[in-house]
Symmetry: C2
Subunit: 242 residues, 2 copies
């Protein structure tokens, strides 16, 4: 039976981290919100209509038969072994999950660059605060997170240019997505990205060239980044590289 | 061999969610940062001195023999079955993990009430923004998250007053911690908490009365909440209940 991915329509958002894993593995899946009445089907879960153990707090969530799995990192931890996208030993699986949770924290911080005060208000109502939050994010948080991942790639004894072992993992796919999102949102600030984080940049290129990922990008099924998602390009938030 | 918990000294913070599980289960553990040279030992991990698969991004992390596990939810997902703090079936374990990740998101939002602009700056430098973020947090986010947990407790077919099945889980312990933290940080705004979220409040009382938790609270080992942690009491951020 096909996996069912439930996520908001019209944005890459957090759903894209799951889509990349499903696409890389060539898995059979249905992107429910992109189909007729998909949004309504999703809301039925969020409103508890499917009952016990099937009421996620928010999308994305994945249905696999009788299981409903919410949160990107939880979904990828579940799918990793099934899709061959994580080394099979326990230490690697646990470490990969920790890395993905660090990525989740970073994604939340990216979101807050344009919504530092309230998700209930428009960006335009918190633009000045967004400028200050973005400034701190670019100065302190990007180097802290992306520098960490760059160091880990260098420390991987597999010398594969990947973050874990010698085979592509879902963490690599998510790092690719971070790179693409940052470049879209902050093209000026990221002008020196490849020099500053050469191993992350090389990993990004390696992922982009994977046949399944290249085909997915070409297919038109990958929703373009836009100003409704997590990574948004507001020129007034962008700045010269630090 | 004892578990080793690595976390910042002097605050409950994110480490407390792990401590509560270890305490409830009567597990043998060492709270490393509370011991001599503990902070230095922790930094060795963060600086990558222990090598591959043992370089967390941030505390808390747990060492169990040769495994190093980072992020609260990852740690509790690992410990849950070992400590008997999660139902043993896969669907429950996955759902419990999703709930804990929702709690992690909420905790990050609690943190940002006093640091909405930059973690690199003092609270006093972002006090006005903190007032606005807190206002939105109390109006929109507390009802959304705590209301969700209240509904789930009511929908548990185990009719145990717990969030999963009929036995206490690590998620219940974490919900207790959220209640205690919110009451400490926002005593005015939470004045009607028990009426607004009666099932969560009853669960909190149930956890507080567990012999092991009561003994832990009495022991003096539970670090008092303070203004260096996640839940901080700044009277100017508190407000009348909405």
């Amino acid at each position: 039976m096909a996996y069912e991915l439930y996520y908001w329509d019209g944005i890459q958002g957090r759903g894209e981290f799951v889509r990349l894993a499903l696409e890389e593995a060539g898995a059979d899946y249905l992107d429910v919100a992109q189909s007729g009445a998909g949004a309504q089907k999703m809301m039925e879960y969020l409103h508890g209509r499917h009952g016990y153990l099937k009421t996620p707090f928010a999308p994305p969530f994945l249905r696999d038969g009788d299981l409903v799995i919410s949160h990107v990192a939880n979904i990828l931890h579940y799918l990793g072994p099934k899709l061959g996208l994580v080394p099979p030993d326990e230490a690697s699986r646990i470490y990969a999950h920790g890395l993905q949770l660090t990525i989740a924290d970073f994604v939340a911080e990216v979101h807050d660059t344009h919504h530092p005060i309230s998700t209930a208000d428009y960006y335009e109502d918190q633009r000045e605060e967004a400028k200050n939050r973005t400034k701190a994010f670019l100065k302190h948080r990007v180097p802290k997170f992306i520098g960490y991942f760059n160091r880990l790639i260098g420390a991987n004894p597999g010398r594969s240019g990947l973050i874990l072992g010698t085979e592509l993992s879902y963490v690599d796919l998510s790092l690719f997505q971070l790179c693409e999102g940052l470049a879209y949102a902050f093209p000026r600030a990221m002008a020196n990205f490849d020099q500053d984080y050469p191993l992350v940049a090389a990993l990004r290129d390696k992922v982009r060239d994977r046949p399944a990922i290249a085909a997915y990008i070409k297919s038109g099924r990958r929703i373009p980044l836009n100003e409704s998602g997590i990574f948004r390009h507001y020129p007034e938030l962008d700045q010269d590289p630090g």
